[in-house]
Amino acid sequence: MSALMEIQDVTRRFGGGRTLLGRPKPAVHAVQGVSFEVRQGETLGIVGESGCGKSTLAKLLVGLQRPTEGEVSLGGALLHDPAVFDRRALAKRVQYVFQDPLSSLNPRKTIRQILEAPLIHLLQMPAAARQDKLMEIMEAVRLRPEFLERYPHEFSGGQAQRIGIARALAAEPEVLVLDEPVSALDVSVQAQVLNLLDQLKADFDLTYIFISHDLAVVESVSDRVLVMYFGRVVEEGTAGELFRRPLHPYTRLLLSSAPVPGRKGIGAEARIAELPDPLAPPPGCAFAARCPHASDLCRETLPVLEREGESAYACHHPRKGEPWPPANVEAAGD
């Protein structure tokens, strides 16, 4: 598999600059020094908790945000080079599925109007061809054609999310960035949408970047996974490897915290966990204050992402060879 997108040392800062009097304004680094690649045809999962920068990263990948530093390239061409990619050229190749399906549909437009927009503005499709295309898309997302004339509020969350997916597909992209696509949905509907996404990926030769806070969902859909914490990637690996042999203490905490049906005994930190102040980030590892293995080195020096084959971790004390899962997990009924 070859790299379709490359993200190199990307940083996205909010705020900053100086006031009229020349005093620096506070800046928050939503994403900091992130590098990874997206391979042709894979599903890359990005997982992390709120405030880890995963949503900002997602917006950087489709051009809804611009990186403050660093570069994103698609098929070898720089994303933020206006000579290669104007907004439309990019939107034809990378599309986005939003978390809140209802909020991403204009309440005053019919589904037809919503789905036609990319056909008109991105593909310059004539009216006759549009009708056929609409039918094709609606069938792909398993929605009845008569829904085209309805308004978003007439749909349930799951149906609305399928419309959101249909809109993204209408542009005939190569890459779909899915930002928490099933988090707002009920579990029974969630499975419908996940299965649909699986089908579409095969049918349309898509590459997915799947962002979620739900570890189980990410594990079930991803080929490779990035774990983010406080704006940085802390661990990367194939889904099988990362979930079976997590190296970063944060990944281990995340995995042990997730409740699993039929099992009892999640792990939880003894002390109250808080993220560092984003306005005054610590010099070393952002996780050090919560980490049971933290040393002075961790508190003073920022660990860089070390690559070992398919895996990578940003930790001074990776938990190599330590058993997983820890022994305290018991099966229900024991």
């Binding site: 908790e49 709120s50 809804l64 907004r87 939107a91 986005y96 939003f98 809140d100 909020s103 991403s104 549909l105 204009n106 005053r108 437009k109 927009a117 990319p118 503005h121 509020h153 007439e154 799951g158 809109r167 993204a168 209408a170 542009a171 009920d186 579990v187 029974s188 509907v189 969630q190 499975a191 419908q192 996940l194 299965n195 806070h213 570890l215 189980a216 594990e219 079930s220 979930f243 905490l253 995340l254 995995l255 915290s257 997730a258 409740p259 699993v260 049906p261 039929g262 099992r263 005994g265 999640i266 792990g267 939880a268 930190e269 109250i272 966990a273 808080e274 993220l275 229900a332 009924g333």
Partner: protein, 655 residues
């Protein structure tokens, strides 16, 4: 799906029970009256040139200051002998025209500025809004005076002055709305569909802003007419021989004592015009504001209205229910029914729900959004908002005492004392303007006669008990100064304030991150152990259920479909819904398992089918499932299921 959403707006889909906009408008009698009155006035104004009236400017000194009903002058004459009726109708026309023109100008420029500032943000926004702020720094009419002073008195100048002065009002309003829209995801989506900024402004933003512009116009026209009349009254608007209502009033003022009708009549007209417009404007606002449409602005009563059949409130029935409740249970709920009435629709949110909770037990109430689990929890202490909610049947027995039979004072004594709640999103459920110590102290003082100082000391102890570091210091913090997990600990501390027998936790960890959720779950489990309290735990997550609940009840479409010990329900679910619900959740550590999605959607609880509500989606359904009432049958002593073809371990469960 938040608990609040499910509690206050059950299935907020477009229901057939809601009347059409026109009907809604006509039902608003005041607005209809305003519209009618305004219509009559406008008709009169339009017909004025064709009515057999005297020339409004024709003086007749011989017949000056005639009283109303005089020969040839229905409303009398003024100090120059001019016919007041004629002048009144012509003047009304002028006033209406000027008011409407001023509003149009202000709406056009103000809204344009607002939309541009709100959509583009950044520098453009700062620049435009600073200018607007400058205009707003002037007391309203003063700026108009200054402008008229510069331009000179005259109707047109007054019009411009009033229009300019009102531009900020539109600009601020519209900017606010546009700003909210610009952040909405559908704007990003339109961008990704390749639309240009101009196209987005015109086809995505404008249609959504338009109702707000209409509302703002309809609520300001009356005001603008008043203000232009005011300038004319001061002699700065219409100049003789032209007259609008304001200048008529201004001229008549000097004759107030000798001939009050000269000033009173135009005043009445201004009042009628402005009032009719205001009534109409309110009607339009009510029509276009979606919140008002759903009746969401109705004040929730202190307790849910209880309207049970008399048989259930009779002491004998209570006694029977109390006896039948399982021996030694802390809480026994029997056939609880809660409904929402919206328009002509009745939503059966909680449909004959029965369960009991034993001492120090944790019972999980699981279901998807709209299943009625949160409404069940809120119904127990009458916390469902009325309107639209009503409890129409059943008993809630706390230690054998029926809570639904209590009056407001009796119920208040139980709330937070015997039974305490922990809600979902601690940012919205804690009062933003009081310190957390104060809020916990208040919970204590609502039930115990202790001083504020003692209550505060107890509050600090409670915060310590939920492991908040530096509890004494943190007690003086406001909710917004704490993280989400910390806030939920505060909610938990507050619920423990009076050593309740029962804690009701309504999705307490849903809004939290997974590592924080783990801590809060551990804390709750441990506190339940330490305090001997029972716990009713509402959630949608079977993983969470496995972690903290001894028994679990599964809800679907307002009914409990299965209830039993957690391990048994999860490993050998008896109801097909439970089985499929477990099967469709991805489980950590089992990435290869295919997710078996449940086809279709849950039925709307205002249109429940006969028989089993799940039949339509159930692979095992047969004709018998679609008729009659299906009872909760025992699988074994501890495990019951509402199904005529229970899955006796054929289906795979969790673990």
């Amino acid at each position: 799906m938040t608990a609040a959403a499910t509690a206050t707006a059950p299935a907020a889909k477009a229901g057939s029970g809601r009347p059409s906009p026109l009907k809604l408008f006509l039902r608003n009698q005041l607005a209809a009256f305003g519209a009618g009155l305004l219509l009559v006035i406008i008709l009169l104004v339009i017909l004025t040139p064709f009515l057999p009236l005297q020339d409004p400017a024709a003086t007749d000194p011989a017949n000056r200051l005639l009283r109303p009903l005089a020969e040839g002058h229905l409303l009398g004459s003024d100090h120059l002998g001019r016919d007041i009726l004629s002048r009144l109708l012509w003047g009304t026309g002028v006033s209406l025209l000027v008011g409407l023109s001023a509003t149009s100008v202000a709406a056009l420029f103000g809204s344009s500025i607002g939309i541009l500032a709100g959509y583009f943000g950044g520098r453009a926004d700062t620049l435009l809004m600073r200018g607007i702020d400058m205009l707003m720094a002037f007391p309203y009419i003063l700026l108009a005076l200054a402008i008229v002073a510069a331009l000179g008195p005259g109707l047109l100048n007054a019009l411009f002055a009033i229009a300019i002065v009102n531009i900020p009002f539109f600009a601020r309003n519209i900017r606010g709305v546009t700003l909210g829209l610009a952040k909405r995801e559908f704007i990003d989506a339109a961008r990704l569909s390749g639309k240009s900024d101009l196209s987005i402004l015109l086809t995505e933003v404008l249609p959504n802003v338009l109702p707000v512009i209409v509302i703002t116009v309809s609520t300001t026209v009356g005001w603008m007419i008043l203000e232009t009349a005011g300038l004319s009254f001061l002699g700065l608007g219409a100049q003789p021989p032209d007259a609008d209502l304001g200048s008529m009033l201004g001229e008549g003022r000097k004759l107030l004592i000798t001939a009050p009708h000269v000033s009173v009549i135009p005043g009445v007209m201004i009042f009628l015009v402005v009032m009719s417009i205001n009534l109409l404007g309110d009607g339009i606002r009510d029509l276009l504001d979606p919140r008002l449409k759903s009746g969401a602005l109705a004040r929730p009563a202190p307790m849910t209205e209880v309207d049970r059949p008399s048989a259930q409130t009779a002491p004998s029935a209570q006694a029977v229910a109390a006896m039948s409740a399982k021996q030694g249970s802390v809480l026994a709920v029997h056939d609880l029914e809660t409904q929402f009435r919206i328009g002509s629709d009745v939503y059966k949110a909680v449909n004959r729900v029965s369960f009991d909770i034993r001492p120090n037990e944790c019972l999980g109430l699981v279901g998807e959004s709209g299943s009625g689990k949160s409404v069940t929890a809120l119904s127990l202490l009458g916390l469902v908002a009325t309107p639209p909610g009503r409890i129409v049947g059943g008993q809630v027995l706390l230690q054998g005492r029926d809570l639904l039979g209590l009056d407001a004072a009796g119920l208040r004594a139980v709330r937070g004392d015997g039974v305490a709640y922990i809600f979902q999103d601690p940012l919205t459920t804690l009062h933003p303007l009081f310190t957390i110590g104060d809020q916990i102290a208040e919970a204590i003082r609502s039930h115990k006669p202790v001083s504020y100082r003692e209550a505060w000391a107890s509050a600090v102890k409670l915060l310590d008990a939920v492991r908040i570091p530096n509890a004494a210091g943190r007690a003086s913090a406001y909710p917004h100064e704490l993280s989400g997990g910390m806030r939920q600990r505060v909610s938990i501390a507050m619920s423990l304030a009076n050593d309740p027998e029962l804690l009701i936790a309504d999705e307490p960890t849903t809004a939290l991150d997974v590592t924080v959720q783990a801590q809060v779950l551990k804390l709750l489990d441990q506190l339940r152990d330490d305090t001997d309290a029972s716990l009713l735990f509402i959630t949608h997550d079977f993983g969470v259920v496995s972690e903290v609940c001894h028994r679990v009840a599964v809800m679907y479409a307002g009914r409990i479909v299965e209830i039993g010990p957690t391990e048994e329900v999860l490993s050998a679910p008896a109801h097909p819904y439970t089985e499929r619900l477990i099967a469709c959740v991805p489980r950590l550590g089992e990435p290869g398992r295919r997710l078996e999605a449940i086809p279709g959607l849950p039925p709307a609880v205002n249109k429940l089918p006969p028989g089993c509500a799940f039949a339509e989606r159930c692979p095992h359904a047969e004709d018998a499932c679609r008729q009659g009432e299906i009872d909760l049958d025992a699988v074994n002593d501890a495990h019951q299921v509402r199904c005529i073809k229970p899955r006796n371990g054929q289906g795979g469960g969790a673990a």
